[in-house]
C-alpha cells in the first residue's frame, strides 16, 4: 500500500509518540507536526516542573524524530488561525489532533474569579517561562491556599516553598522565580477533597518535599497507619505523609521557612473577599458536616484542565471522538485531547500507539472511499507556509538558551515570543 500523508497538530508527547508509531508503520510516509509555538514538546517543556530535568529528558527521544526519522516540524502555526481544519484535511490524507487541554478548570463556586485566584496551569507555565504568561505577575502575598492534591498541586507547593539554593541544577529561571515569589510565603495550606489515603499524589513527590530544608509540615487530620491498607501505592503514600508529619515533631524548632499545612476531605464552597481573595471556605471534614475557613492572600487551583477552544473535543458542543480516537473519516485525536486531562507521559505513548494502529487499520478498510495522494504542507495557505518555523530554528533557540544559562542553571529559557521567532526565523549562517 502506498504511504499516506499525515498531519499531526500539537508537538507535545502525544503528537510526538503518534509520529513515532506512524513512522514505524510507514517508513516512507510524509509526516508533519504542527505547533502554535516555534518550540516543540508541549507540557514536557511548559508543564513538567523545571526542577525535574530527568523527566524532561524524554525530549531527547522526540528530537530524533525530527533529526533522523524525517518527521517535519512546522512551528508558529496555530490551527484555527493560520489554517482551518478543513484546509488541513484537504492537504493531508490523515489528520490527527494532539493539542492537549491547556485551560485551568475553574472551581465553579462564588468568588472563583476574584483577583488573587490563579490556575496551576498558568502558574507552572509562568514558572517554565511560557511566552503566553509573560504578563503574569502573581501576587501570592504571605499566605496562599492550594486546592488540589494531585501531582500538579504538589509541584506548585514545592516550587513555591523550596529554598532558592535548592534550585541549583534546574531549568528554573531566576526571573520566573522572582516573578512568582516576590514576597516569601510564610504559610501554604494545601486542601484536597479526598482523604489522605485517596489523595491523588505519588509517594515519591511527597518524599521529595521531605528532603527540602527549612519547611515544616502540619497535618489537620489523623493519618491512617500505612500497614492498615492493602494497596501498595496507598500504603506508600500514607507512609510518606507520616514521614513528613514526624519530621515536624522531631525538628520542633520553628524554622523561618514556609509552614505547610495539609487538609484532607474538604470541598470548596466559596472564595471570600471584597476586592481580592481574603479567605476560602470549605465544607466536609471528618464528620462531613463541618466548615473550614482558611485566611488567604491568594488561591491556586490545581483541579485539572479543560478545553478553551469551542470547536475542539472536550468543549461542550464539539464533536466527540469514538473510543478509538476517530472524529471523522481521516480525522483522529490522541493524548489529553482524547482522554481528558489525566495521565502521565507514558500513558500518552500507549494512547498514541493505539490510535496509530486504528489509523493503519482504517486506511486498509477505507481504501476505496478515500484514495490517498494529498500533497501535504505545500497545499496549505501560502501565508501560513511563509510564517512557519522549522526544527533547525528550534535547535538554534536551544543553543542560545544553553549558551545564556545563568550560574547554577542548565539553560535560560527565552520567554519572549518575538525573540524566539527572531532566532527561529534567522537565516542560518551559510544558508540561502
Amino acid at each position: 500500500m502506498t504511504a499516506p500523508s499525515i498531519a499531526i497538530v500539537g508537538a507535545g508527547p502525544s503528537g510526538c509518540y503518534l509520529a513515532q508509531a506512524l513512522r514505524k508503520q510507514w517508513a516512507e510516509a510524509r509526516i508533519d507536526i504542527f505547533d502554535r509555538l516555534p518550540v516543540p514538546f508541549g507540557l514536557v517543556r511548559y508543564g513538567v516542573a523545571p526542577d525535574h530535568p530527568g523527566t524532561k529528558a524524554v525530549t531527547r527521544q522526540f528530537e530524533r524524530l525530527f533529526e533522523r526519522d524525517g518527521i517535519g516540524f512546522h512551528g508558529n502555526l496555530t490551527l484555527g488561525r493560520d489554517f482551518t481544519l478543513d484546509e488541513l484535511r484537504e492537504a493531508y490524507d490523515v489528520v490527527a489532533l494532539a493539542t492537549g487541554l491547556a485551560a485551568d478548570r475553574r472551581l465553579g463556586i462564588p468568588g472563583d474569579d476574584l483577583p488573587g485566584v490563579y490556575g496551576a496551569g498558568a502558574l507552572t507555565r509562568r514558572l517554565n517561562d511560557h511566552p503566553d504568561e509573560q504578563g503574569m505577575r502573581p501576587d501570592l502575598g504571605r499566605r496562599a491556599v492550594i486546592i488540589g492534591q494531585g501531582n500538579v498541586g504538589i509541584d506548585v507547593l514545592r516550587l513555591l516553598s523550596k529554598p532558592e539554593a535548592a534550585f541549583e541544577g534546574s531549568e528554573l529561571s531566576p526571573e520566573a522565580l522572582a516573578a512568582c515569589r516576590a514576597t516569601p510565603l510564610a504559610r501554604l495550606d494545601i486542601v484536597g477533597r479526598s482523604s489522605a489515603a485517596e489523595a491523588k499524589c505519588d509517594a515519591a513527590m511527597l518524599r521529595e518535599l521531605g528532603r527540602l530544608a527549612g519547611l515544616s509540615f502540619h497535618f489537620h487530620a489523623t493519618l491512617p497507619a500505612p500497614e492498615s491498607v492493602e494497596d501498595q501505592a496507598v500504603s506508600l503514600r500514607l507512609a510518606a505523609f507520616h514521614e513528613l508529619a514526624e519530621r515536624h515533631t522531631e525538628s520542633h524548632t520553628e524554622s523561618n521557612g514556609c509552614q505547610i499545612h495539609f487538609h484532607f476531605g474538604w470541598t470548596p464552597e466559596a472564595v471570600l473577599g471584597e476586592a481580592r481573595v481574603e479567605a476560602v471556605r470549605f465544607h466536609g471534614g471528618e464528620s462531613g458536616r463541618e466548615t473550614l475557613e482558611l485566611a488567604a492572600d491568594s488561591l491556586i487551583t490545581a483541579i485539572g484542565f479543560a478545553q478553551h477552544d469551542p470547536d475542539l473535543p472536550g468543549a461542550p458542543d464539539a464533536p466527540r471522538p469514538d473510543d478509538q480516537g476517530r472524529l471523522a473519516p481521516g480525522l483522529y485525536c490522541t493524548g489529553w485531547l482524547r482522554r481528558g486531562p489525566r495521565g502521565t507521559i507514558p500513558e500518552n505513548r500507549q494512547d498514541a500507539r493505539a490510535v496509530a494502529a486504528t489509523i493503519a487499520a482504517d486506511l486498509v478498510a477505507d481504501r476505496a472511499e478515500r484514495p490517498l495522494g494529498r500533497p501535504g504542507a505545500a497545499a496549505l495557505p501560502a501565508a501560513a507556509i511563509a510564517r512557519a518555523t522549522d526544527f533547525a530554528g528550534w535547535k538554534r533557540i536551544q543553543a542560545v538558551e544553553a549558551a545564556e544559562a545563568p550560574a547554577g542553571r542548565l539553560c535560560r529559557r527565552i520567554p519572549d515570543l518575538a525573540r524566539l521567532l527572531e532566532i527561529a526565523q534567522a537565516t542560518p549562517v551559510g544558508g540561502p
Partner: protein, 161 residues
C-alpha cells in the same frame, strides 16, 4: 547465533536504546530488538546472547512492559542455564531506588541459571547524557572484554565455512 536485545519501557527510552544497540551490532551478528511484553525466553537458542535493557518506575519497580515477563519467570521458573546475557538499565538518580528495575530483572535471570557477562550499564536521566550514546559506549566495553565469547556462535560458523 543471534543477539536478542529485549527491552522493558514506559516512555520509550529503553526502546530507543535497544534500537541504537541493534544499529551498533548490525553487520557483526544477527540482531533483533523486541519489547519484553512480546518475548518468550524459550525462543533463545543455546548459543544466542541476550542484552536486557530496562528502565525503572514507581518505587524502584519494573516498567509496565516488563511486568508480564517477570511474572512469567516467577510463575514458570524456567531453567535458563543455557543463557548468557548482559544488562543495561535506565533510571534517574533523582530517585533513591536508582536503576532497581534492571537489577531486579538481572537478579531473576541469574537466579534461574543464566550467566551475566560484564558490568551492568546504567543511564541516569538527570545526567543530561543521551541514553543511546551511553549504551553504545557500554556495549564497546562489553564487547572488548567478552566479545569473543559472545560472538562464539558466529566465529565457529566462520571457521567452518
Amino acid at each position: 547465533m543471534t543477539i536478542h536485545v529485549i527491552y522493558g519501557t514506559e516512555t520509550g527510552n529503553a526502546e530507543m536504546v535497544a534500537d541504537d544497540l541493534v544499529e551498533a551490532l548490525e553487520g557483526d551478528a544477527t540482531v533483533t530488538a523486541r519489547d519484553l511484553a512480546d518475548f518468550d525466553p524459550a525462543e533463545v537458542a543455546e548459543r544466542d546472547f541476550v542484552i536486557l535493557v530496562s528502565s525503572t518506575y514507581g518505587e524502584g519497580e519494573l516498567p509496565n512492559s516488563a511486568q508480564p515477563f517477570f511474572a512469567r519467570l516467577e510463575a514458570q521458573a524456567p531453567d535458563l542455564s543455557g543463557l548468557t546475557f548482559a544488562t543495561f538499565g535506565l533510571g534517574d538518580s533523582f530517585y533513591e531506588t536508582f536503576n532497581h528495575g534492571s537489577r531486579t530483572l538481572a537478579d531473576k535471570l541469574r537466579e534461574l541459571g543464566a550467566i551475566e557477562l560484564g558490568e551492568r550499564g546504567v543511564h541516569d536521566a538527570s545526567s543530561g547524557e543521551l541514553p543511546g550514546e551511553v549504551a553504545v559506549e557500554w556495549l564497546k566495553g562489553l564487547l572488548g572484554a567478552h566479545g569473543a565469547r559472545i560472538m562464539a556462535g558466529e566465529a565457529t560458523a566462520e571457521a567452518a565455512s
